[in-house]
């Protein structure tokens, strides 16, 4: 088994905090941070993805070296990694791993010759440091009174470093050994600082909506303020990026716009997504290489802007763990712990055309989504922690039904569905609703005749669709976390919180597989029967496995599919689609 296609997660974002994204023209890629990982993606081919997963903390900053050979990334434990981007993931060279600060790394910049780095962040005593890519120090940035949030390196000599800080000022350092030269006050946190590619100007943007431009005075050998525009945007400004010709730059803001400005700060073009309107459109990061102007918004959408107006391309993905997936025809639905539902198209073995499901999204986490017949149409039913069930047909939310209690698990059979919540089990048949009051149910599966529910005590309780208890199966020592009936309802698979999967015959409720399917090493998260009668399972141990009920053997496995746990699995023909804690969706061949 191997992963043949991946839909990577969207960049991690925090409201009111800039989000770093970096383009490298030479290698045609851009990089962003998501969870504990760093993603490198091709500017032209959306299916070309590379992941770097060696950071132990949540990644917070990323910057390509101008050559594109190396990249520097930082995390919220203050550690910087400098690694090469040219070798395949197994042979990657980590040039430097260095602990810089007690808190998060906020920004990174390279000198034009790829031989010096500056890193700023949330330190206790030092908030910024310059060093070589090998890790040798070139000086400490002294002069700011609070966390330094932004930095850039002048690409031409003499070298300067410009910084912006939470102490509401920006400063210049000259070096090496980068000594404080001057500072200018603003009225709020400085969010981004960037030198023009020719080194003559530097643009500084701040949460107080101000844009500042400094220009280099060759006689005084210092930078002096040449333009200032207050209230340049209607909300705080989070990112700035220069055009390669150094004659204009783009700023992005929480007001949802990306504005291209001249050296006098005046607006040349205002770009806004026609589909705007919510706080999710706050633009928190921007980069520009002349051909591509890309920005990150609060919901993690990466927009490729057309400089003449409008959006060429939107790249969407999940920002939090993918809790469940469902397949309707060639449309794949995925729901996450952020309350986002996405719809994708499966074509030629690739997951393409990702879009947000339309309709008003809940703020709570989705726990599950399953195929369901809704008013005669094939759609998806999704259970949300806000206590509602959402019906989704053709990529749009068509109805919202209340559930009793907070849903924990959901399964469907045609138009009927069963929901497990903290208050018990609800079985919705054709027009009739039956409830079973119990507080120990955590999983559910449904077939044409039965509804099976797993308890925290390790029992599987089988009910008829009328809510009458038929059998209680006792084998698991603890929580039964996953259940699945096969297509014709003759077999029931159950997985527990330890690692074991059991198989039951529904004819006489006898145990057919008890101790053979034990190769997972952590909690079983979901089970799904395939069209050829094979069972797929995913677990917190990050792996996905396939089992054969006839020979009782483990057929195949794929380890390390989703870092921090694989949460859901669906058969698509003879392939598997999985989702997990790393917020990605993967297509796996068996």
């Amino acid at each position: 088994m191997e992963c043949i296609s991946e839909l990577p997660p969207a960049p991690s974002t925090i409201r009111g905090t800039p989000s770093r994204i970096s383009i490298n023209t030479k290698t045609g890629r851009y990089a962003y941070v998501s969870g504990k990982n760093v993603y490198l993606r091709s500017l032209t081919d959306d299916n070309k993805v590379e992941m770097y997963s060696r950071h132990r903390g949540k990644t917070t900053a990323v910057r390509f070296a101008p050559s594109g050979m190396w990249i520097a990334t930082g995390d919220d434990t203050g550690v910087i990694h400098v690694w090469d981007t040219t070798n395949p993931p197994d042979d990657r060279v980590i040039k430097c791993e260095r602990s810089c600060f007690a808190g998060a790394v906020d920004d990174i910049a390279w000198s034009g010759d790829n031989k010096r780095l500056v890193v700023v962040g949330d330190g206790r005593q030092q908030m910024g440091e310059a060093f070589t890519p090998e890790g040798a120090s070139l000086g400490v940035l002294n002069g700011h009174g609070a966390e330094i949030t932004a930095c850039d390196f002048r690409p031409t000599r003499p070298f300067f470093i410009a910084t912006g800080s939470k102490d509401q000022s920006c400063a210049f350092f000259k070096g090496p050994p980068f000594k404080f030269v001057s500072s200018s006050a603003l009225t709020n946190t400085v969010n981004a600082v960037r030198f023009s590619p020719n080194g003559t100007h530097v643009a500084i943007v701040s949460a107080d909506k101000t844009v500042l431009v400094f220009s280099y005075d060759a006689e005084a050998k210092a930078f002096a303020e040449s333009a200032r525009l207050e209230n340049a945007h209607t909300k705080g400004i989070y990112g700035v990026a220069w055009a390669p010709q150094s004659d204009m730059f783009a700023t992005c803001s929480a007001d949802g716009t990306v504005v291209i400005r001249g050296l006098d700060c005046q607006t040349i073009t205002t770009l806004q997504d026609p589909l705007h309107g919510t706080i999710n459109d706050q633009q928190l990061g921007v980069d520009w290489d002349g051909e591509h102007l890309i920005s990150v918004s609060l919901d993690g959408t990466i927009r490729f802007w057309n400089i003449d107006g409008g959006v060429d391309k939107r790249i969407e993905g999940h920002q939090k763990a993918v809790n469940d997936i469902a397949l309707v025809g060639d449309k794949l639905y995925s729901v996450d712990a952020n309350g986002c539902a996405h719809v994708h198209t499966l074509a030629d073995g690739l997951v393409v055309d990702t879009a947000l499901v339309s309709g008003s999204m809940p703020k709570n986490a989705f726990v599950s989504c399953k195929n369901c017949t809704i008013d005669g149409e094939e759609g998806v039913m999704a259970a949300n922690m806000d206590g509602s069930l959402y019906s989704i047909v053709n990529g749009a939310i068509v109805a919202k039904l209340p559930a009793e209690g907070t849903p924990i698990a959901l399964d469907t059979q045609g138009a009927a569905y069963a929901v497990v919540s903290h208050t018990g089990l609800e079985i919705h048949g054709e027009g009739e609703t039956r409830t079973v009051a119990r507080d120990d149910l955590i999983s559910v599966a449904m077939c044409e005749k039965y509804v099976a529910a797993g308890t925290t005590k390790g029992h599987v309780v089988v009910y008829s669709h009328d809510g009458e208890q038929i059998a209680q199966l006792e084998e698991h020592p603890r929580d039964v976390t996953a259940l699945a009936f096969n297509a014709d309802g003759t077999l029931l698979a159950s997985g527990d919180a330890i690692k074991r999967i059991c198989l039951w015959t529904t004819e006489d409720w006898s145990l057919t597989v008890a101790n053979d399917w034990v190769f997972h090493t952590a909690r079983i998260r979901q089970l799904h029967w395939g069209p050829s009668g094979k069972l797929a399972s995913v677990s917190n141990d990050r792996s996905v496995r396939v089992w054969d009920p006839e020979s009782r053997k483990a057929l195949a496995d794929c380890a390390e599919v989703h870092l921090e746990g694989a949460f859901c699995v669906r058969w698509v023909g003879e392939k598997l689609v999985t989702g997990g804690a790393d917020a990605s969706v993967k297509l796996i061949s068996v």
């Binding site: 690692k499 008890a514 053979d516 034990v518 190769f519 997972h520 090493t521």
Partner: protein, 136 residues
């Protein structure tokens, strides 16, 4: 020590396995009176690993020895590995007797360098056992 004796046939089987490769594997159990360790099953030289695993009951403990063929730096080698099978489903008394008698059996089998404890089938995969051999 539990006072459970080791039957002479056990040692004979091991010697035959080691010297003349008469068997691929052998399993041993403690007899009903809990006084002696006796042979349970043996495998012909062409028996496979699956057959060996099938000799371990789901609800009782066992000892086993198996000749594992493996490759080290492109060089084909074989080694006899001692397996202590003690599934979670076995009665507690049985698990205790088998655990306390294990050393006396192992001491009779001179030259076994690798021991693997199996609590369920996931501990007794070929990869797991070969990994253990390489580590010694």
């Amino acid at each position: 020590m539990s006072g459970v004796a080791v039957g002479e046939e056990c040692v004979t089987i091991y010697e035959e396995m080691k010297m003349s490769r008469k068997y691929k594997f052998a399993t041993f159990r403690v007899n009903e009176d809990l006084t002696e360790i006796v042979p349970d099953a043996v495998g012909e030289p062409d028996a496979d690993f699956e057959e060996f695993l099938s000799k371990f009951p789901e609800k009782d403990a066992r000892y086993g020895i198996i000749d594992i063929d493996y490759e080290d730096d492109g060089c084909a080698k074989s080694r006899i590995v001692f397996i202590f099978w003690s599934p979670d489903g076995a009665p507690i008394r049985s698990k205790m007797v088998y655990a306390s008698s294990k050393e006396s059996l192992r001491r009779k089998f001179a030259g076994i360098m690798t021991e693997v404890q199996g609590n369920d089938l996931s501990d007794l995969t070929m990869d797991e056992i070969k990994g253990r051999i390489m580590r010694v």
